[in-house]
Symmetry: C2
């Protein structure tokens, strides 16, 4: 199940995201935790266990019970929002345009790609409605800043920003989830693929005739890096050539009216 963003109290969520809380002197025992500590711990747990991490697990990592977290954070959904935005702080806020926009967009995409593979759970936070946190803004701002330099109008920019974003996210999802599934079952990509394709060919012997174009699609394959596992190699290759096509398309839009 995907976790949907922004379902709680808007004011509370946004105040947390922008850390707009005033640290006044108050009665009662000193807080032993903090929102930041909780978010950091939750990110660590999610990096290890995926998005199916539990509030109990986060609490345990901090030496508390699950319920202790609810003093700082309204619920798991809001915590995920905070994790999402905080993790994005890892990404650069701007990219130099010295080598032109094309190179800058490539860097942006590459950084985001690597970021997703460090934090695969990010890919399971719904993208529908933005979290509206400062770092999410900064990441899009960085891409927008590059693309604005092409002089394209807002209407086209929005489509391009979306396309680049979707592309990186999608491509990252492919490797990230392949890796996650591999880890979960303990079998690497090769074994997974081998076991299934063997059964598949046995049950449906004339696969190649039923889907001849898929066969064409599989042709002309050569490993980019023999160190990497099967599907991952595939994904890297597809990422490169797909991004190239995308950039060519932008270039076309820049050249023509």
């Amino acid at each position: 199940m995907v976790v949907y963003a922004g379902q709680g109290d808007p004011r509370r969520s946004i105040e947390l995201l922008w850390r707009a809380s005033v640290a006044e002197q108050r009665p009662g025992p000193k807080p032993g935790l903090s929102v930041d500590a909780i978010v950091d711990a939750a990110i660590e747990v999610a990096d290890e266990q995926g998005m199916a991490f539990s509030m109990r697990a986060v609490g345990e990592r901090l030496g508390r019970t699950a319920m202790a977290l609810y003093t700082y954070v309204p619920g798991k959904n809001e915590l995920v929002d905070l994790m999402y935005d905080r993790a994005m702080a890892e990404l650069p806020a701007s990219y130099p345009l010295d080598d032109g926009w094309r190179s800058a967009v490539t860097c942006w995409a590459h950084d985001l790609w690597e970021f997703y593979s460090r934090h695969p759970w990010m890919l399971q936070v719904s993208q529908a409605r933005p979290v509206l946190g400062p770092h999410e803004f900064a990441v899009i701002e960085a891409l927008a800043a590059i693309l604005v330099s092409t002089g394209l109008p807002g209407r086209e920019l929005r489509g391009i920003v979306g396309a680049v974003n979707y592309f990186v996210r999608g491509a990252a999802q492919t490797v990230a989830e392949a890796r996650a599934a591999g880890n979960a079952t303990g079998e690497g990509d090769e074994e997974w693929w081998y076991a299934r394709s063997a059964v598949l060919l046995e049950i449906e012997p004339d696969l190649e005739h039923r889907f001849p174009m898929l066969h064409v699609l599989e042709s002309d394959r050569e490993p980019v890096d023999p160190e990497l596992p099967y599907l991952e190699n595939d994904a890297v290759e597809n990422f490169r050539s797909g991004l190239k096509v995308l950039l060519d398309g932008i270039e076309g839009a820049v050249a023509k009216p």
Copy 2:
């Protein structure tokens, strides 16, 4: 949480996907259900309640308990695989090339886009490892058949197929999940956005100065269809202009070596 595909017994899964079961005469009571009936019911439930549907809900729709389903299907993961592939049977297996590949790809993308908005839960099935069902194959085969006509080599085709696929999926995710979130909270997009942007501007008054490029990105906006809600309109516009860029990129690859 995203549902990962293909974690169970490979043979059992693939036999179910390709309906390779022999309906022999067997002892015991006549089956009151069938895999198809269960998959259909599950799709109906998922269309209504999203990917967080429960086995109990599916059983109830069929007048059975949850455990009755386990006679036909090994578990929820495998059921999701079957739902995924069966739903894809709705999509055309081929597209005419009479108006050229560009028009055909546009149709393919549009159909898939509409398909995802009919079955938003599809977007939450992991894409990492293909489900390897006949209809999933058919959908990719249809796109591949169009693109093979451009004469591009396999290496480039893979990147393009990936990019188009990711793009449609990503764009669809944006609307689908926006709609889902809206339904869940009962508030439409406008109210959602209004409530949050107001609080945001109150807490962070100089947003425009902190993220000037986002402001550029928001310029030049005009509603495509005033009937549609805010975010959805946005998504449709982005889909069109993003797809155009993508197609231009492919055209570039076709023209140049």
